[in-house]
């Protein structure tokens, strides 16, 4: 239970909109931080200071101890180590243990169709060569968790005993390069969230094309001056031909499904790795 809530918060925090709105909303809703209450806040601070004993003569009951303010342990690194840090480290230890328990496999799932996978942090690159063409698919697992996951966990909509499944559905970019041509056709694809979010009753495709443009071959900078076809300017027939073009190169519904599985596994792997780094950072040993 605790694990799922934490995972939810983790997912929500990785969503830029969720974290931003919370941070911005706080000062407006918190009266002690408003200037109109400054006088009250000042008096209150003084009373607390006096109760703490440092600013008063004679016996006063101590409200605060110095434990919170000063390091309670040291390890030679010279940094602060509080009781809170210790609890945080213990919590992370348990969290990592739980996450490892639900990790489906230590190895990443394969994508069928002769794709080779390489990784750079949170970014994955799938490559294959077919008959004089190089096809690559790149995606980044950051901010790729479905937003409805967090909502459902909050609303308690899932059946008791069942944790909501976390799915990573990143945008992915397909690049097709023909050996004889110096340009690369770049097709920006996205998972269509409605279908995934609301289950089987929705009638949208699994993924769709959102942008198409030609770019210079290789790792040169993105050419903003290249004409870009957007989803809205793609007519239906052109869109269907583009989807058939992708399917001929192995990017179809099956591929999208397998990419989702792969991305979910990578995201989980990265999450555990992050927790481990955080534990080391907090505990410093």
């Amino acid at each position: 239970m605790l694990k799922s809530v934490v995972r939810t918060v983790g997912a929500a925090l990785r969503l830029p909109t969720a974290s931003t709105s919370t941070t911005r909303a706080l000062p407006l809703n918190c009266p002690t931080l408003c200037s109109a209450n400054a006088a009250t806040a000042r008096t209150f601070t003084r009373s607390l200071w006096m109760m703490n004993g440092n600013g008063a003569s004679g016996y006063r009951p101590k409200l605060f101890t110095t434990k919170v303010l000063n390091p309670s342990a040291s390890c030679g690194c010279g940094a602060m180590h509080t009781e809170g840090d210790k609890a945080f480290g213990e919590f992370l230890f348990d969290e990592i243990k739980e996450e490892k328990k639900i990790q489906k496999s230590g190895t990443l799932p394969k994508i069928s169709g002769g794709w080779e996978l390489s990784m750079d942090g949170t970014e994955a690159l799938l490559t294959k060569r077919v008959a004089g063409e190089k096809i690559t698919v790149t995606f980044n697992v950051n901010n790729s968790i479905l937003p409805n996951f967090a909502e459902e966990a909050d609303q308690g909509e899932q059946k008791s005993g069942e944790e909501p499944e976390i799915l990573s559905t990143p945008n992915f970019v397909v690049e097709v390069t023909k050996e004889a041509v110096k340009e690369t056709l770049v097709i920006d694809c996205q998972f269509l969230q409605d279908e995934l979010a609301h289950g089987e009753e929705e009638e949208s495709d699994i993924f769709g094309i959102f942008e198409v443009s030609f770019q210079p071959e290789g790792d040169t900078e993105w050419k903003e001056t290249s004409y870009t076809l957007t989803k809205d300017s793609l007519n239906d027939s052109l869109y269907d031909h583009m989807m058939d073009f992708l399917a001929d190169r192995g990017v179809d519904n099956t591929f999208a499904d397998e990419l989702m599985e792969l991305s979910t596994a990578i995201e989980h792997q990265q999450y555990i790795k992050f927790l481990e780094e955080l534990k080391t950072f907090v505990k410093c040993n």
Binding site: E203, S204, D236, S237, D244, T254
Partner: protein, 173 residues
Amino acid sequence: MGVVVRNLQKVVPLRRARLRKDVNTLRHILGIHKFDLGVVCVDNRRIQHINNIYRKKDEPTDVLSFPFHEGLRPGKMPCPLHRDELNLGDIFLGVEFVMRQCQEESTDLHEALTVVTAHGICHLLGYRHETEEEWSEMLQKESYILREYNRLTGQHLLPMMKPCHQERTLSHR
């Protein structure tokens, strides 16, 4: 808006452009090109689920039609009052079911899908095959559509409905 094609399945490799072209040819033949139409391609699992919900038949099938205009008299075009009503409805194609049939009969999938779609559009236009009279009326319409289709494309497609004295095997609507 025209034809909305959706491919919700991964069992059958579909050619979306070919499917759209064939559906547009059928619309042209029937003179319904100003009406929107949805064509949703699904696998056996999903069409069985829909068949069970709407027809209480827990089995996969080839096509299910959901007309926008209820109670149309066969052959009478809908008379829309607003832009929103320029819509015929949706056809769910059981592409996996059709593919299995094609494998058994060694026929082409996309040709079979054209025949099945023509049948589905007839249902959207009010045709039924509950009685012999309805059956005959619908067979006549389907035969006309495919005759015209064959004339325009040089193909040799036959209606999926058999003449009424033969066994009725259609399990969809």
